[in-house]
Protein backbone atom coordinates (compact mmCIF):
# COMPACT_ATOMS: atom_id res chain seq x y z
CA UNK A 1 0.00 0.00 0.00
CA UNK A 2 2.82 2.31 0.98
CA UNK A 3 4.62 1.48 -2.24
CA UNK A 4 1.54 2.24 -4.25
CA UNK A 5 1.18 5.66 -2.61
CA UNK A 6 4.82 6.42 -3.29
CA UNK A 7 4.54 5.47 -6.94
CA UNK A 8 1.34 7.43 -7.25
CA UNK A 9 3.01 10.46 -5.65
CA UNK A 10 6.02 10.29 -7.95
CA UNK A 11 3.73 9.95 -10.91
CA UNK A 12 1.90 13.09 -9.83
CA UNK A 13 5.19 14.95 -9.43
CA UNK A 14 6.37 13.83 -12.82
CA UNK A 15 3.10 14.84 -14.38
CA UNK A 16 3.46 18.23 -12.69
CA UNK A 17 6.98 18.55 -13.98
CA UNK A 18 5.94 17.72 -17.49
CA UNK A 19 3.07 20.14 -17.42
CA UNK A 20 5.43 22.91 -16.28
CA UNK A 21 7.82 22.05 -19.06
CA UNK A 22 4.95 22.13 -21.47
CA UNK A 23 4.04 25.64 -20.38
CA UNK A 24 7.61 26.82 -20.72
CA UNK A 25 7.85 25.43 -24.21
CA UNK A 26 5.64 28.20 -25.56
CA UNK A 27 8.44 30.71 -25.07
CA UNK A 28 11.40 28.38 -25.11
CA UNK A 29 13.05 29.94 -28.15
CA UNK A 30 14.98 32.53 -26.16
CA UNK A 31 15.53 30.54 -22.96
CA UNK A 32 18.00 28.16 -24.61
CA UNK A 33 20.37 30.92 -25.57
CA UNK A 34 20.58 32.44 -22.08
CA UNK A 35 21.99 29.28 -20.49
CA UNK A 36 25.58 29.93 -21.66
CA UNK A 37 27.62 30.25 -18.46
CA UNK A 38 30.21 32.94 -17.94
CA UNK A 39 33.31 31.45 -16.32
CA UNK A 40 34.46 33.55 -13.39
CA UNK A 41 37.99 34.89 -13.99
CA UNK A 42 38.98 34.35 -10.36
CA UNK A 43 37.52 31.83 -7.95
CA UNK A 44 36.85 33.06 -4.43
CA UNK A 45 39.62 32.43 -1.91
CA UNK A 46 39.32 29.07 -0.17
CA UNK A 47 39.31 29.46 3.59
CA UNK A 48 39.75 26.41 5.82
CA UNK A 49 37.19 25.63 8.50
CA UNK A 50 38.02 26.51 12.12
CA UNK A 51 38.26 22.87 13.17
CA UNK A 52 40.84 22.12 10.48
CA UNK A 53 42.69 25.37 11.23
CA UNK A 54 42.89 24.58 14.96
CA UNK A 55 44.49 21.21 14.25
CA UNK A 56 46.96 22.78 11.81
CA UNK A 57 47.73 25.66 14.17
CA UNK A 58 48.46 23.22 17.02
CA UNK A 59 51.03 21.45 14.82
CA UNK A 60 52.54 24.70 13.54
CA UNK A 61 52.96 26.37 16.94
CA UNK A 62 54.15 23.31 18.84
CA UNK A 63 57.80 24.36 18.63
CA UNK A 64 57.11 27.94 19.70
CA UNK A 65 56.40 27.62 23.44
CA UNK A 66 55.89 31.38 23.96
CA UNK A 67 53.22 31.66 21.29
CA UNK A 68 49.49 31.33 21.94
CA UNK A 69 47.20 31.06 18.94
CA UNK A 70 43.43 31.26 18.77
CA UNK A 71 41.22 30.56 15.78
CA UNK A 72 37.90 32.27 15.20
CA UNK A 73 35.97 32.45 11.94
CA UNK A 74 39.09 31.67 9.91
CA UNK A 75 41.23 34.30 11.64
CA UNK A 76 44.34 33.10 13.48
CA UNK A 77 45.31 35.51 16.26
CA UNK A 78 48.76 35.23 17.81
CA UNK A 79 49.72 36.51 21.25
CA UNK A 80 52.77 36.00 23.47
CA UNK A 81 56.35 36.36 22.34
CA UNK A 82 58.76 35.00 19.77
CA UNK A 83 62.26 35.64 18.46
CA UNK A 84 61.84 38.02 15.52
CA UNK A 85 63.92 35.88 13.13
CA UNK A 86 61.72 32.84 13.77
CA UNK A 87 58.45 34.57 12.98
CA UNK A 88 58.72 34.25 9.19
CA UNK A 89 58.93 30.46 9.51
CA UNK A 90 55.86 30.38 11.70
CA UNK A 91 53.99 32.69 9.32
CA UNK A 92 54.86 30.40 6.40
CA UNK A 93 53.36 27.44 8.24
CA UNK A 94 50.23 29.37 9.18
CA UNK A 95 49.64 30.84 5.71
CA UNK A 96 49.83 27.32 4.25
CA UNK A 97 46.79 26.34 6.34
CA UNK A 98 44.56 28.69 4.28
CA UNK A 99 43.38 31.04 7.00
CA UNK A 100 41.27 34.12 6.33
CA UNK A 101 43.86 36.24 8.09
CA UNK A 102 46.77 36.00 10.51
CA UNK A 103 46.72 38.70 13.17
CA UNK A 104 50.16 39.14 14.70
CA UNK A 105 49.99 40.57 18.23
CA UNK A 106 53.26 38.94 19.27
CA UNK A 107 56.04 40.73 21.10
CA UNK A 108 59.43 40.28 19.49
CA UNK A 109 62.21 39.20 21.82
Amino acid sequence: MKNFLWIFGTALLLAGGYSCKGKKDSNATDTTTTTTTTTAPTAPVEISGDEQLRKGVADATKDYPGVTATVNDGVITLTGSIEKDRYMNLKQSLDALRPKQVVNNLNYK
Partner: protein, 140 residues
Protein backbone atom coordinates in the same frame (compact mmCIF):
# COMPACT_ATOMS: atom_id res chain seq x y z
CA UNK B 1 43.51 47.04 -5.72
CA UNK B 2 45.46 49.00 -3.11
CA UNK B 3 47.11 45.90 -1.66
CA UNK B 4 48.18 44.69 -5.08
CA UNK B 5 49.99 48.00 -5.48
CA UNK B 6 51.58 47.71 -2.05
CA UNK B 7 52.87 44.21 -2.82
CA UNK B 8 53.53 44.87 -6.53
CA UNK B 9 57.22 44.00 -6.19
CA UNK B 10 56.30 40.63 -4.71
CA UNK B 11 53.78 39.86 -7.43
CA UNK B 12 56.24 40.86 -10.15
CA UNK B 13 58.94 38.66 -8.61
CA UNK B 14 56.51 35.72 -8.62
CA UNK B 15 55.76 36.30 -12.29
CA UNK B 16 59.39 36.70 -13.30
CA UNK B 17 60.50 33.58 -11.44
CA UNK B 18 57.77 31.57 -13.20
CA UNK B 19 55.64 30.71 -10.20
CA UNK B 20 52.94 28.50 -11.70
CA UNK B 21 49.23 28.54 -10.89
CA UNK B 22 49.83 32.02 -9.53
CA UNK B 23 46.68 33.51 -8.04
CA UNK B 24 46.57 37.01 -6.59
CA UNK B 25 43.26 37.86 -4.99
CA UNK B 26 42.16 40.65 -2.74
CA UNK B 27 39.27 40.01 -0.38
CA UNK B 28 38.15 41.99 2.70
CA UNK B 29 41.40 43.95 2.93
CA UNK B 30 43.59 40.87 2.78
CA UNK B 31 45.71 39.92 -0.23
CA UNK B 32 45.95 36.19 -0.95
CA UNK B 33 48.92 35.05 -3.04
CA UNK B 34 48.92 31.37 -3.98
CA UNK B 35 51.19 29.51 -6.33
CA UNK B 36 53.79 26.84 -6.92
CA UNK B 37 57.38 28.08 -7.00
CA UNK B 38 59.80 26.28 -9.35
CA UNK B 39 62.33 25.89 -6.51
CA UNK B 40 63.06 26.79 -2.90
CA UNK B 41 65.06 29.87 -3.87
CA UNK B 42 62.10 31.42 -5.68
CA UNK B 43 59.88 30.85 -2.66
CA UNK B 44 62.50 32.33 -0.31
CA UNK B 45 62.85 35.38 -2.54
CA UNK B 46 59.12 36.03 -2.29
CA UNK B 47 59.24 35.82 1.49
CA UNK B 48 62.27 38.13 1.58
CA UNK B 49 60.34 40.72 -0.44
CA UNK B 50 57.34 40.32 1.88
CA UNK B 51 59.63 41.10 4.83
CA UNK B 52 61.08 44.09 3.00
CA UNK B 53 57.62 45.57 2.40
CA UNK B 54 56.26 44.70 5.86
CA UNK B 55 59.42 44.39 8.03
CA UNK B 56 57.63 43.53 11.29
CA UNK B 57 54.86 41.45 9.70
CA UNK B 58 52.32 43.57 11.51
CA UNK B 59 50.10 44.77 8.66
CA UNK B 60 48.17 41.45 8.75
CA UNK B 61 47.09 42.02 5.16
CA UNK B 62 48.88 39.24 3.28
CA UNK B 63 48.37 35.47 3.30
CA UNK B 64 51.00 33.86 1.08
CA UNK B 65 50.73 30.16 0.33
CA UNK B 66 53.56 29.30 -2.02
CA UNK B 67 54.66 25.69 -2.25
CA UNK B 68 57.75 24.32 -3.97
CA UNK B 69 57.13 22.29 -7.11
CA UNK B 70 60.10 20.05 -7.57
CA UNK B 71 59.78 18.20 -4.29
CA UNK B 72 59.04 14.72 -5.54
CA UNK B 73 59.31 11.22 -4.16
CA UNK B 74 62.90 10.05 -4.09
CA UNK B 75 64.28 13.57 -3.86
CA UNK B 76 66.43 14.61 -0.94
CA UNK B 77 65.70 17.29 1.61
CA UNK B 78 67.69 18.88 4.38
CA UNK B 79 66.39 19.13 7.94
CA UNK B 80 66.16 22.86 8.65
CA UNK B 81 65.02 23.03 12.28
CA UNK B 82 66.30 25.92 14.42
CA UNK B 83 68.78 23.61 16.15
CA UNK B 84 66.93 20.61 17.55
CA UNK B 85 66.21 17.21 16.06
CA UNK B 86 63.19 16.75 13.81
CA UNK B 87 60.61 14.29 15.05
CA UNK B 88 59.53 11.52 12.71
CA UNK B 89 56.03 10.39 13.56
CA UNK B 90 53.90 7.37 12.81
CA UNK B 91 51.25 9.48 11.07
CA UNK B 92 50.61 13.07 10.00
CA UNK B 93 49.99 15.09 13.19
CA UNK B 94 51.67 16.00 16.49
CA UNK B 95 49.21 13.66 18.20
CA UNK B 96 50.95 10.74 16.48
CA UNK B 97 53.66 8.76 18.32
CA UNK B 98 57.30 9.57 17.56
CA UNK B 99 58.98 6.71 15.71
CA UNK B 100 62.35 8.34 15.05
CA UNK B 101 64.37 11.52 14.82
CA UNK B 102 66.40 13.27 12.13
CA UNK B 103 69.27 15.51 13.23
CA UNK B 104 69.45 19.22 12.42
CA UNK B 105 71.15 19.51 9.03
CA UNK B 106 70.67 15.83 8.17
CA UNK B 107 69.73 14.85 4.61
CA UNK B 108 66.62 12.71 4.30
CA UNK B 109 64.73 11.21 1.36
CA UNK B 110 61.15 12.09 0.53
CA UNK B 111 58.91 9.05 0.30
CA UNK B 112 55.57 10.72 -0.33
CA UNK B 113 53.99 14.15 -0.19
CA UNK B 114 50.39 13.06 0.27
CA UNK B 115 49.79 15.81 2.83
CA UNK B 116 50.91 19.44 2.36
CA UNK B 117 51.96 19.94 5.96
CA UNK B 118 53.31 16.47 6.72
CA UNK B 119 55.74 14.72 4.43
CA UNK B 120 56.60 11.06 4.62
CA UNK B 121 60.38 10.74 4.81
CA UNK B 122 63.09 8.14 5.26
CA UNK B 123 66.44 8.69 6.95
CA UNK B 124 69.70 7.12 5.83
CA UNK B 125 69.36 4.76 8.82
CA UNK B 126 66.08 3.52 7.39
CA UNK B 127 63.77 5.27 9.86
CA UNK B 128 60.55 6.12 8.07
CA UNK B 129 57.57 8.24 9.03
CA UNK B 130 55.97 11.66 8.85
CA UNK B 131 57.71 14.97 9.57
CA UNK B 132 56.52 18.54 9.51
CA UNK B 133 57.21 19.91 6.01
CA UNK B 134 58.15 23.36 7.27
CA UNK B 135 61.42 21.96 8.59
CA UNK B 136 62.39 20.25 5.35
CA UNK B 137 64.08 22.17 2.55
CA UNK B 138 64.42 20.49 -0.82
CA UNK B 139 67.95 20.16 -2.18
CA UNK B 140 68.07 21.42 -5.73
Amino acid sequence: MALQDKYAELINAAKSSSVSNLQVREQNNVLYVDGVAPNGAAKNEMWAIYEKIDPDFRANDLVMNVTVANMQAGQQAKVTTASSNLNIRKGPGTDQPIVGKAAHGEIVTLVSKSDDQWWQIKTKDGEEGYSYAQYLSPLT
